[in-house]
Amino acid sequence: MQNEQEFSLSSRLTVELMQAVFSKGACFRFQVKGFSMLPFIWDNDIVTLSPFCFSADDIGKSVACVCPVGERLIVHRIVARNGDHYLIKGDNCSGVDYFIDKKNILGYVTAIERNHKSVLFGLGPERKVIAFLSRKGMFSLVLFIWRFVPKFLRRFIKCRMLS
């Protein structure tokens, strides 16, 4: 039996394993790579995904899906919906991704861990505001202004949005 450290998983294989896990109704925990979801999901964060249940409340959820171009596994945010198609976008990406068919959405992020600590911001009700700003192309501006907001005020806003 070979342990996971001895080989690396391709994106395709990760998708296949994820689908097998979701078909059992279980959650899937793995490490993400990349910066497209900054500042909410960082490079090397560990995310837990749950099987995706389609509902009217999907906007703003961060989802794992197979990108139609290159068949890569990506974790981006749903910013709009049109019937069975979802428009997804990375929080740190200037342009939108594609309309993804719902069958290509595998699961949604229910937990983020960074340096062994749980990160909640971006997963609660505030996700709808983020999705709205992202869709309107104003998220980068808000992030820029956010840098100048005093730390205590940032903490207060985060607490209010999470409660």
Binding site: Q2, E4, L9, L17, A20, V21, K24, F28, R29, T48
Partner: protein, 104 residues
């Protein structure tokens, strides 16, 4: 210092694969992810089953004893029964230790 207890495996016992496993065959290779509290943790543990373990894995159906499995394998493979039994006990102990196998 805590000593790890050695898992005892019996040739006359029936073993079956744990229900808390997700298996997926990809391009002829079998991948196994144990579920812990309903979560498949790709960061901590998942396994690729090698050829020897796979031959045994496919026969662990919860009906046959290890001895019966060894007999079957000795008919399928050109190897002495003692060697097959030894290999079988090693693989079964490894799987038991990892919680992937349970005694019936």
């Amino acid at each position: 210092m805590l000593m790890k207890e050695k898992v005892s495996v019996n040739l006359n016992t029936v073993y079956c694969l744990s229900e808390n496993l997700v298996t997926k065959e990809v391009q002829g290779e079998l991948f196994v992810i144990p579920l812990s509290a309903g979560v498949a943790d790709l960061e901590n543990k998942f396994f690729k089953i090698n050829q020897t373990a796979r031959a045994i894995w496919d026969k662990l159906d919860g009906k046959k004893t290890l001895k019966e499995i060894a007999d079957e394998l000795s008919l399928e493979y050109d190897a002495p029964l003692e060697l097959i039994q030894k290999e079988l006990l090693e693989v079964a102990a490894d799987l038991l230790e990892r919680g992937m196998l349970v005694a019936e």
